[in-house]
């Protein structure tokens, strides 16, 4: 029988191994997934229930339920990451065990993000189903639904750089938990409730610089017709966020894995 010897697994297999491990753990973190699902559904129902009639005074071109569904999706996918699991791995020493393997250091982060992509898609589907139940329809058809979920998932993964950067920089679960506060300006200083035109001056100015504004516009366009310019702008907004947040996360990763 030949002796078993270690050899390079390859970058993609490293990513797949870390992602598979991370995905396998998702059902074991039900206490974390439960609230992540409850909050967007809650906001969707409450926002529609309380603001639907008021929204009639604004220049919203679609049904208010459809107007709110992208907001719920953004709530579902933003800041929902495996960063908390990663920081626990750092604290419990499992991260050191991974560091003692020849795994590509970038794969450590990309594997977690691949799992995040799966997670945010899993979270988006029930929210979209609730949307269907309350009467939201996609004139862009089934492909519109798929694009809707994919754009949301891309946004979710782009945002993960922030909690991962905090996790890797601090190694502190409390700091990672607190990072949800960073989501507030993104989520509320935008067109969550009314269009930019209906906002007061300062709020409209901030909303115009908030990438979520363009994300929401792209997602909402799918309730009207295929509007490639809106979809393009939403992808640019996602790319801009990804550039900033993932630069932070990979810089934090380099700091964490460097021999000190």
């Amino acid at each position: 029988m030949t002796a078993i010897t270690a050899r390079p697994a390859g970058f993609f297999r490293d990513v797949a191994s870390i992602a598979a491990r991370s995905v396998r753990q998702l059902p074991r973190d039900i206490e974390f997934i439960g609230p992540a699902l409850f909050i967007p559904v809650f906001f969707l129902i409450v926002n529609v229930g309380s603001l639907q009639n008021v929204a009639g005074f604004t220049d919203i071109q679609i049904d208010y339920k459809a107007y709110q569904l992208p907001v719920a999706i953004v709530f579902a996918v933003t800041g929902v990451t495996r960063a908390q699991a990663l920081v626990l791995n750092i604290q419990e020493g499992y991260f050191d065990r991974l560091m003692l393997t020849p795994v590509s250091r970038r794969a450590l982060l990309l594997g977690h993000m691949a799992a995040d992509f799966v997670l945010v898609i899993c979270l988006s589907i029930p929210v979209v189903i609730v949307g269907f139940i309350i009467g939201v329809r996609f004139p862009t058809g089934p492909l519109g639904v798929v694009v809707f979920i994919l754009i949301a998932a891309l946004w979710g993964v782009a945002y993960t750089g922030i909690p991962y950067a905090i996790a890797l920089k601090t190694g502190n679960p409390g700091a990672v938990n607190s990072s949800f506060m960073l989501f507030f300006p993104f989520a509320f200083l935008t067109t969550s409730y009314v269009p930019v035109e209906a906002m007061t001056g300062w709020m409209a100015t901030i909303a115009r610089y908030n990438p979520v504004t363009y994300l929401l516009a792209g997602l909402r366009s799918l309730f009207i017709e295929w509007q490639w310019d809106e979809l393009g702008k939403s992808l640019i907004a996602i790319g801009a966020l990804a550039l900033v947040s993932q630069s932070m996360s990979f810089k934090a990763l380099n700091g964490r894995v460097k021999q000190k």
Partner: protein, 318 residues
């Protein structure tokens, strides 16, 4: 002397400073391929810091080190293919099953699933096989410790670093790890670098022992040679009262190779301790020294430790 290329582990002036603290203050050591090297020292002596430097987790502030002839700072990625490691704190994810830990570990070392399954079978003597599909969070400390050791072995490393592998294990668990260490060394020719604070563990397992205290390597050799350096027999007298009077009484006693005092313990080393036992008792009695306990034994590594550092390996040890 072996060169960096043919030694399994070699350190040259290896040092690590944390702020003002010299955790490791320039260590030279060499471990031959196929050797079990015991790194013995009390808590805080610098054992784990040395292991973390040799296993690429921590950069030295001075000196160099090689594992399998590969520089740990210049080529850490290559070193990782050669080594298996079980650190002092079991590095496990509580939300994974034991099998998932081993499979993930194997995959990251490029093993196929069939190879990983074969290795799990081969490692079954130290694993709790019935518990392998349970979450690690449900494991006892001993089970987790053995899984951690097994995780360090999945990829069949050439050099295995075990940082206090039996700390926290019950006696049967400790014996299982010892047996596996011996088997790995004898059947597979694996080199083992083992840190421990247990004298009997170093004595039982190690071909050679390095004694570290306050970041410095203070003695090195086979357990037998180290003990022989103390003398063939050791007579220890635990006294109440004036230790200086006891030392005066025993000074120049015929047949003693050395007389030392460590707190309330006076130690006489001799090539024939049996013949010296009565003269020692009489000398102390004549000097009016109250003797609480007088005993003769062969030297232990703790005697060696006491000899080279001036204190016992463990506080309160006698």
């Amino acid at each position: 002397m072996a060169t960096a290329r043919d030694a399994a582990v070699r350190a040259q002036g290896l040092a690590r400073r944390f702020g003002d603290l010299d955790a490791v203050a320039g260590i030279d050591l060499e471990v031959e391929p196929g050797e079990i090297y015991g790194f013995l020292g009390p808590n805080g002596a610098g054992k784990s810091t040395v292991v973390r430097m040799l296993t690429t987790l921590l950069a030295p502030t001075a000196g160099r080190a090689w594992v399998g002839g590969v520089d740990v700072v210049e080529r850490p990625g290559d070193v990782r293919f050669l080594i298996g490691v079980a650190l002092q704190e079991a590095g496990l994810d509580k939300k994974m099953t034991g099998r998932e830990v081993l499979v993930t570990q194997g995959r990251l070392f490029g093993l196929t699933r069939a190879e990983i399954d074969r290795r799990i079978d081969e490692l079954s003597p130290i694993l709790d096989m019935p518990a392998l599909d349970r979450l690690v969070g449900t494991y006892s400390g001993g089970m987790a410790r053995r899984l951690d050791v097994a995780a360090g072995l999945v990829h069949n490393p050439k050099v295995l670093f075990l940082d206090e592998p039996t700390t926290g294990l019950d006696p049967p668990g400790r014996v299982r790890v010892w047996e596996e260490v011996r088997r790995l060394n004898e059947e597979m020719g694996m080199t083992l670098f083992l840190t421990t604070q247990y004298l009997e563990e170093a004595d039982e397992l190690a071909d050679r022992v390095g004694i570290i205290d306050a970041g410095k390597l203070v003695a090195e050799g086979t357990p037998a040679d180290l003990k022989r350096s103390i003398g063939i027999d050791v007579i220890t007298a635990h006294i109440d009262g004036d230790a200086a009077a006891a030392m005066d009484a025993l000074a120049g006693i015929e047949g003693a190779s050395s007389v030392d005092q460590f707190g309330s313990e006076v130690r006489v080393s001799a090539t024939n301790g049996g013949r010296l036992l009565s003269p020692v008792a009489l000398a102390l009695d004549r000097a009016g020294v109250s003797v609480r306990e007088l005993a003769m034994r062969t030297p232990t590594l703790d005697d060696v430790f006491l000899d080279v550092t001036g204190h016992h390996l463990k506080a309160g040890a006698t």
